[in-house]
Amino acid sequence: MRKLTIILLFTSLLSYAGGVVVVSKTRADKLRVNETIEDIHFNPVLDSLGRWVVSKEEVDMLTESQFIYLKTMPVIRYMKPIDTLNKLGR
């Protein structure tokens, strides 16, 4: 029982903090030209494994029926790509 509680707590933390939904490149391109809700545009980004993702915040606010499918997709923890370009010069 204790193990189950820990697992549930862990998974709920994972799904909340920095959660994303993986989408295909084609879907990412389609989403990019649309709004999640009025005045907020989708912004699909790449994760550290080269997958296109949209954030849980974007998915949570969706009401448009054409994007509701995103709400049924699993939320995973976002893994930030390594900053190889080092634009900040550090």
């Binding site: 920095g18 994303v20 809700i37 009025e38 005045d39 907020i40 545009h41 989708f42 912004n43 699909p44 980004v45 993702v53 949209v54 954030s55 849980k56 915040e57 974007e58 976002y78 930030k80 900053d83 370009l85 634009k87 900040l88 010069g89 550090r90």
Partner: protein
């Protein structure tokens, strides 16, 4: 009997006029709200009376302290939605040329401000330094953060390479960084215990840029200004060529602005005004 009627009529009319006086007293209070604030309230569609009053007071105080004329864009983040938060208080018109914000990615809007998620959220101000600042030695910008974190995140700016970089980077591993129209090789920095408060970068000379936290001068960098950037400043990320947002921020923003250069004293005054504004809104 006639006398009684006359007396009753007199009492009744005086009661009526008292009511009118009260109505106009209320109207009079509303009319003390600056017209610029009223325009913003109409555009943003905010209905909460506390927020409306706070906006009126904010504009009034900025005018009374001679800060208003220096302001080019002010984002007070009220109303709790993207549609209410996108407006520039200085020019609340729904166009890019009025520096109305365009939001992208995962934002959370609430009465506490606008919170980017640190993954893919940012906003385009459409404020292009080359087009919109009159003098490259008179610039300032700021971001009020109510989130404490220590990751590599940029809250405002544009990467212009060897041209004029704009950068506010709050508390990356204990250091806050500023670039106010300098080449990317330079940073003005100070050791920072957290990322909470009102951060302002300012330049009012060709040789110095300054970074302030909560109205207090934290560091002065002796770096000569360079030519202005030709792309827009982003909020909650850094605009790197060719218009790619990087270093997404996760810091909740309660107020942000872009203005002409401000003196140390004016930045201290601005901090007090913005602090009062946020206090009124309970954030």
């Amino acid at each position: 009997m006639v006398k009684r009627i006359i007396i009753l009529l007199f009492v009744f009319s005086s009661m009526l006029s008292f009511g009118q006086a009260n109505r106009f007293a209320g109207f009079g209070q509303r009319s003390t709200c600056p017209v610029e604030a009223l325009k913003f309230i109409d555009s943003s569609g905010i209905t909460n009376q506390t927020e409306k009053d706070a906006i009126c007071t904010l504009v009034k105080q900025l005018k009374d302290s001679s800060l208003w004329t220096s302001m080019l864009a002010i984002y007070p983040f009220v109303g709790g939605t993207a549609s209410s938060s996108k407006w520039n208080l200085v020019n609340p018109v729904n166009s890019n040329s009025a520096f109305r914000l365009d939001f992208f990615g995962g934002w959370t809007f609430a009465s506490t401000g606008a919170k980017p998620n640190g993954i893919n959220a940012y906003a385009i101000t459409y404020f292009v330094p080359f087009n919109s600042w009159a003098s490259d030695t008179s610039i300032s910008f700021g971001y009020y953060s109510t989130t404490n974190t220590s990751a590599t995140q940029v809250e405002m700016g544009i990467d212009a390479g060897s041209a004029g970089n704009i950068l506010l980077e709050l508390n990356t591993s204990g250091t806050t960084y500023l670039r106010a129209n300098v080449s990317g090789s330079f940073n003005t920095t100070f050791a920072d215990a957290n990322s909470l408060g009102f951060y302002v970068g300012s330049r009012i000379s060709s040789t110095q840029e300054k970074v302030f936290k909560n109205g207090v001068l934290k560091a002065t960098g002796v770096f000569t200004n360079t030519s202005f950037a030709v792309a827009p400043i982003y909020l909650a990320a850094w605009n790197t060529p060719p218009s790619t947002p990087r270093y997404y921020s996760s810091k909740n923003c309660t107020f942000s602005f872009i203005a002409n250069g401000l003196t140390d004293a004016k930045i201290a005054t601005l901090y007090n005004i913005v602090l009062a504004f946020n206090t009124t809104l309970g954030r």
